[in-house]
């Protein structure tokens, strides 16, 4: 008798589970779709909806770059190339070349971590498609510029102060190693 019972049980199982499955899909007919209609039918630009820590294409604020080459050393792929000379007479450090090869960059964020002033940071821009590999190299230096000298107290120069505060906000987002103050308190 086992086989006959199994036979009808199979039929009952099939009908019951198909019935359940159809009920689930029926309930989906009246639910709101999740599709975000990027790129054109968007209420607000996608880049603005991304979180603050989003690691998009790199950007460098040369005004607050101290030329310390920490990011060049930290990058595992060596896609950051910085050339700067120290003028022995005037003791001024000028940055002649600051290029980042976005084609090789893997957006890992290791370069923006050691930067003292937060000049190299990730933007929420991700549309980096381009027509040639050369144009994927972002050159940030138009003409050689003097490196920024971090001052002891708060920054006075009105032009640089907002850039520095934005940079420091980005750097403070990273967890400060080993300090007893919880990092969360600082960013709030």
């Amino acid at each position: 008798m086992g086989a006959a019972a199994q036979y009808f049980e199979n039929i009952r199982d099939t009908v019951r589970t198909v019935f359940e499955g159809m009920a689930v899909t029926a309930s989906h007919f009246v639910r709101k779709p999740y599709t975000v209609q990027y790129p054109d039918r968007m209420p607000v630009r996608v880049q603005d909806t991304l979180p603050f820590r989003y690691r998009g294409i790199l950007e460098v604020d040369l005004e607050i770059c101290t030329g310390c080459l920490a990011c060049e050393r930290a990058c595992p792929i060596d896609c950051i190339v910085i050339a700067c000379e120290k003028d022995s007479a005037t003791k001024i450090l000028t940055i002649a070349q600051f290029d980042i090869d976005i084609a090789k960059c893997m957006f890992c964020g290791l370069c923006s971590e050691p930067c003292p002033t937060g000049s190299i940071h990730h933007t929420s821009e991700f549309e980096g498609a381009d027509f040639s590999l050369e144009s994927l190299i972002r050159r940030f230096v138009r003409e050689p510029v003097a490196a920024y000298k971090p001052k002891k107290g708060p920054e006075t120069d009105p032009r640089i102060a907002p850039i520095l505060s934005r940079g420091m906000r980005y750097v403070n987002e990273f967890a400060a190693p080993g300090s007893d103050k919880p990092a969360e308190a600082k960013t709030a």
């Binding site: 060596d78 896609c79 190339v81 050339a83 700067c84 000379e85 002649a96 070349q97 290029d99 090869d101 090789k104 590999l133 050369e134 190299i137």
Partner: protein, 169 residues
């Protein structure tokens, strides 16, 4: 059972074929003579005291003067681990396969043969697993030089950025 106690058992069982018991800090290990690795592992597998029933990890390491095959053994019943090592010459290193004791050795040994170049005698189908069949050389050896091109495909891409102060750095 502590790893060191396992090595003591193996030492008193196999005597001089256990070359060295190193009590290094994070993971102590025990070096075995390559010719008797199968008996040691069979003993560890069958002995109810240790009953190692899984070869958790097997890796080939190339130290400039020798090649070591490291076996991480594990017992699910007693929850203890043991690390055995075998030192092999660099020219054509070869050691007996452990496939008959633990089936998981099959693929791991094929990977070591492919990447580090250790020949495993008695292995059921010893052929390259990760690299293409006609690849020469063993990539994970320290003296491995990557060929500039493979079947006409260049394996090198210089960085398109020209460094201005190339000379100074």
């Amino acid at each position: 059972m502590e790893p060191l106690k396992i090595y003591e058992r193996v030492k008193e069982r196999f005597g001089e074929r256990v070359l060295e018991i190193a009590d290094k800090k994070p993971d102590p290990f025990c070096v075995i003579d390559p010719k008797s690795i199968v008996e040691v592992c069979q003993f560890l597998h069958d002995d109810p005291e240790t009953s190692i029933d899984a070869l958790s990890n097997e890796s080939g390491v190339d130290y400039e003067d020798r090649i070591e095959v490291v076996y991480h053994l594990f017992s699910y019943r007693h929850r203890h681990t043991a690390v055995l090592k075998v030192k092999l010459p660099r020219e054509n290193p070869s050691v007996a396969t452990l496939e008959n004791i633990w089936k998981s050795a099959n693929w791991m040994e094929r990977e070591i043969f492919d990447l580090v170049g250790v020949n495993f005698e008695g292995h059921s189908d010893l052929r390259r697993i990760l690299m293409p069949e006609d690849w020469e050389g063993h990539p994970l050896r320290k003296d491995f030089v990557e060929p500039l091109e493979y079947h006409g495909i260049s394996t090198v891409r210089e960085s398109p950025i020209i460094r201005l102060d190339a000379g100074k750095k």
